[in-house]
Amino acid sequence: MNIKGRDSDKYKKANKKIAEIKEEISKVIVGQEKIVEQTLIAILSDGNLLLESNPGLGKTKLTETISKVIGLEFSRIQNTPDLMPSDITGTHIINESGDKTEFEFQEGPIFANMVLADEINRATPKTQSALLEAMQEKQVTVGNRTYSLDNPFFLIATQNPLEHEGTYPLPEAQRDRFMMKLELDYPEEQEEQEIVERFTTELEFAADLKQVVSKPSLIKLQEFTRQMPVANDIRNYAVSIVKETRSIEELKYGASPRASINLVIAGKARALMEGRNHVSKNDIDEMVKPILRHRIALSFEAEKKGKNKDEIIEGLIH
């Protein structure tokens, strides 16, 4: 087999692995194929994810299942109004051993490969900000020391819709750090029946999940994603969509260049998921909503008219 053949085989193998991951996830998660796909896209893109839904739709379950299937160390942070930043990052504690007394860093739950920040909008802005550095720089600073996080690192935050009581909207800067915002919807009746069937027949439902990829394999997949070739006109198309958000009257503010970057990367990851080795316009179109919806804000007039962000984003796709 020649080198060219091996390149194609590597791609086929990558596609096969992704298909296996999806299959394993479906052993636990019923339906929600699009959400699963977009979550995997965020993982392949090395991006952080914001999941928004009403309670009880399986956000935590989804994250936990994915971490098991892709062999990542999982930790969970339950955000509450009294949660402190050090509860997330970790803190220095005094360690007394024999005659010696010294400060020792006690790692917080952020030190994992896949961190689920549950109900992030219940934490105070100060605590939410503690996640900023971890999300963007993949490191945390405690006191005057900086600690690197393990690679790969993903933060999947869940939030309840903002209308719910006792929530603190995420600051714009933090929202921008999330690659995508996914909105989970209620399952179809048939899917819900299956969910009920699956989770009511055993005391503790534990699907026999297989770890499909290892950490190095996942990093390799992320490298493949970045390598995905994209045509100049498709890249320009992605940039033009993001740029257009800055000039729409119905929006208070548009998306940042980080949105353009994320849109192209997400397009690449989607192409890999679809088994293609180039980015198509359709990849970009499919990823526009999850990439942009948390990065734009409706103007007062638009809100008054009852418009929503997804409608405006749809108008940008041409």
Binding site: K4, P229, N277
Partner: protein
């Protein structure tokens, strides 16, 4: 195969198809001009009536036609004709300098697809078929003209088909054939005395008689010699000779 080579190959395929089209057009032009020259007697100058000149004219037409057809080469031509190549070729073209696993896999895929599409996709099959059929018909026409005396020129045609001139008419009117029976030719058999007859014969062929009528009697030969002096007879003889030769 590097993508530059692939793009070059596709470009070459494009030129090949256009060259094929131009060649067919030129052959059609050549055959049409040739056929017209034979049948319609185009009022061309003598030099232009030569098939070499027609061939040269067709050659020039081929080149001009080829350059005209090939003036707007664009990789999107393949994309338009092959939806499965849509975006692939442009992506490959824009990433021609990349040399990683993903790019190589893309180039391989294009190579695989282009094996199937290549020039076939941009060949207008109906046009090619139509032109080929036309060439076939014209070729048959040209072959058929080969069975006709191509040396028939206007002068000969006039001689054959025009009204006979006055002199010829007169001679023909005087040319009466009279049927004679054997006795009138050979004499009364009762008066024939075999003892007085001295018959000499020679088995070697006589030049004159062999050419005109090898087994004719001397009297017949003599009567034919009378006809030979007639101009109509000359024309008839020549005509019969030609038919015999053909």
């Amino acid at each position: 195969m590097r993508i530059e080579q692939l793009i070059k190959t596709l470009k070459r395929e494009f030129y090949k198809v256009n060259f094929l089209q131009s060649t067919l057009d030129s052959v059609i032009l050549f055959l049409i001009l040739n056929t017209l020259q034979i049948f319609v007697q185009l009022p061309l100058p003598t030099a232009l009536a030569d098939y070499k000149v027609i061939a040269a004219f067709s050659g020039i037409f081929l080149l001009l036609n080829f350059f005209y057809r090939s003036r707007n080469y664009n990789i999107e031509i393949y994309e338009n004709e092959n939806p499965e190549l849509n975006e692939l070729l442009r992506t490959a073209k824009d990433n021609v300098d990349k040399n990683n696993t993903a790019s190589r896999a893309l180039f391989n895929e294009i190579k695989e697809i282009s094996r199937n599409v290549s020039s076939e996709s941009i060949i207008p099959n109906n046009q090619i078929l139509g032109k080929t059929l036309l060439i076939g018909v014209l070729s048959i026409g040209v072959v058929m003209t080969g069975t006709i005396d191509t040396e028939l020129n206007s002068e000969t045609l006039e001689t054959l088909w025009d009204e006979p001139d006055e002199e010829t008419t007169e001679n023909t009117s005087e040319f009466d054939y009279e049927l004679l029976d054997g006795e009138e030719i050979l004499g009364d058999h009762n008066e024939l005395n075999p003892e007085d007859m001295d018959i000499n014969y020679d088995t070697s062929p006589q030049e004159d008689t062999a050419q005109t009528a090898p087994f004719a009697s001397q009297q017949e030969v003599d009567s034919l010699q009378q006809f030979e002096e007639d101009p109509s007879f000359e024309l008839s003889k020549e005509y019969l000779q030609r038919i015999r030769e053909d």
